[in-house]
Symmetry: C2
Subunit: 387 residues, 2 copies
């Protein structure tokens, strides 16, 4: 087992009555809230009204229009509003994009300059506004971690902002809220949760606890995502997906494991820095190709474990056969929930592949630490296979 630290100081509040607990939780932090959200869906579903009612005792400033793959331009605009309005805390109402943007807004509000500086160098984050999140979908796990991913279209960069100061104080998760999510976003969220898990599970060495936790998350998504797509109103299935999302990205799944550089995320961030595709969809397209690239006689036992414990395959089969079958199953699963199989299906061509491969080493952990070490040629091979 490897040394590790796990620190999860977020109060995770689940239930049909969770949103209504926001006011009491926020009370110690001040009287004026910046409520951040995306498009109109939180208005249509009534969630924004529930949030405002929960914050009836507070002064509220709204900032709408956070986009998918949230942009540093929006972050800077919202941070400026937060400063000018002298808000005491921020409430993110939305999915991963809104929560991620809100983290950057919390840091940006306390920084005199371009929030992109804070993305590029987290040591510049010395203070941040307190953050609360109200979750709308099961995907990124941003409700239970201290990081966000921000896109800069001027430089074609998509990078994480991260600091212990960016943990939400509390996250409010009502699974029924996610019943309004369309199939496309439900599927993309499922792929995101599974990718988070693969990045921590398919590593050189796990242990009985972390492996069991990872397999639990994968089996939960494989069982419940199709139910949510077929029967969007199924609150129990939505709740299972939301729980899987909260624990997918907080570090719990990696306890004691060989550290992973999250290679699929490295590659997907490059793709969506050039093409405005849905993050989970990009991950789902890349993942089976990354798995095939990473499968060697040495790594086969790890994939075979996945085959047996997640897909229920026969442990008496040889590891390479099991591994290949599990990778096929993974691709079939993504197809079964409606995710396209190729980058070209979502409008990505190969014109920036070289620039993407060149950029990763400037902003990411060394991919030499991946299950099968990845160099520039390896990244290009996976991109081309995914095209």
């Amino acid at each position: 087992m490897q040394s590790f630290e796990l620190y999860l100081p977020v109060r995770l509040v689940y239930g049909s009555d969770s949103v209504e607990k926001l006011g009491a939780a926020a009370a110690p932090y001040g009287r004026k809230a910046l409520v951040v959200y995306g498009g109109g869906s939180v208005k249509r579903t009534g969630l924004l009204d529930r949030v405002k009612k929960a914050l009836a005792a507070f002064e509220i400033v709204e900032f709408a229009g956070i986009e998918p793959n949230p942009r540093v331009s929006s972050v800077n605009a919202a941070a400026k509003t937060a400063r000018e309005e002298k808000v005491d805390f921020v409430v993110a109402v939305g999915g991963g994009s809104v929560m991620d943007a809100a983290k950057a807004i919390c840091a940006g509000a306390k920084y005199d300059g371009d929030a992109w500086d804070l993305v590029k160098d987290s040591s510049l984050i010395k203070d941040a506004l307190p953050l609360f999140t109200v979750l709308t979908n099961a995907a990124t796990g941003s409700e239970y971690d201290a990081a966000g991913v921000i896109t800069n279209w001027e430089t074609n960069e998509k990078q994480a902002i991260s600091s212990p100061l960016l943990f939400p104080k509390a996250s409010f998760c009502d699974p029924a809220v996610s019943t309004s999510l369309p199939a496309w976003h439900t599927a993309a969220g499922a792929a995101d949760i599974m990718s988070h898990t693969f990045e921590q599970y398919l590593v050189k060495e796990g242990n009985d606890v972390s492996d069991g936790f990872c397999e639990t998350i994968l089996k939960t998504v494989i069982k419940n995502a199709p139910i949510c797509i077929k029967d969007p109103e199924n609150v129990e299935a939505r709740a299972a997906m939301m729980l899987a999302s909260s624990f997918g990205c907080c570090g719990l799944l990696a306890i004691g494991n060989t550290p992973s550089p999250w290679p699929c995320h490295a590659i997907e961030h490059e793709i969506s820095a050039w093409h405005d595709i849905t993050h989970g969809v990009g991950l789902a397209i890349i993942t089976p190709h990354w798995m095939r690239y990473s499968l060697t006689p040495e790594t086969a036992p790890r994939f075979a474990r996945y085959a047996v414990n997640v897909w229920g395959m026969d442990p008496k089969e040889d590891p390479m056969t099991l591994a290949n079958a599990a990778i096929d199953k993974t691709a079939e699963f993504f197809a079964s929930i409606g995710i396209p199989a190729r980058l070209s299906d979502v409008g990505v061509d190969d014109s920036h592949f070289e620039a993407m491969a060149d950029h990763i080493p400037t902003c990411w952990w060394p991919l030499s630490g991946a299950l099968r070490p990845l160099d520039r040629e390896g990244v290009l091979a996976i991109l081309r296979a995914s095209l």
Copy 2:
């Protein structure tokens, strides 16, 4: 899924280099430490020296002699020392008893009166010294929760003290430390972890995530406890046990489940309030009898799930057959790791059974909320069956 809140603000630090990180973690909290431990084992193993070296920059006051089933008399004495010496924080070096006592000491040091008041009424806990723990064995999970169990021999009461103020700031877990643990304590720790899990898993309703997490912990203990007993120096097996302990009692295993009143703990606390037996051993003796009492046609599917997913039994068998087989397996497992099967084997007779059954409703959650509701007669039936 039931509403729930999960809040785990403890920094969990694992690894062979973990103890050495104590000084840096404690530095923001002051210059003077009360180091609390039990008998001489932490001296013999060199752990106390490691702790002192990690605290080389601090002034240290030692308080030794915390007993198993830690007594409020020791808590009061240590709290007095903490006040008189004006220590800034407390470091618990030991297992569950030492950590539990240290939590009461942290609260007691800030309370002008008998610490037993704080056990009986946690609302009296308004402040507490910061706590750090250095773990020696895998059992109670006290390193990752905000509660401790204290015994009062004057009143024959054993009760929990609990407050969010009692979360350790950080817990330092070096699995190699636990290789010195004798087989008896290794087995008792295994039973304790399993009992924590059963109390959260064998409830009316679980969900895919919590059930998978519980099954992971149970399978981890069932696999690794026998390895630790046969090969005490096996650090990987010790590490798996220690991880299982940390996640066994922190609330993670109960997320979204029907709340449980922890019936086996209610009964065991009564027994060890009258008889100074090892907590985990008492739990292991009671558990199969509680399971048999709780098995009805209505509850059988829950036990059948345990049979299939933990013991690998054939899901095509009928639930009642599976349930009975899983309960037998549970009892056989405890016997296989050297735990006696009967209360009479550990010196407990039936002379206080009526007093125990009468006392539970005065200090515990209503056992009517258990998988099969338990009344006074039910408690007595389980006690008599365990004799």
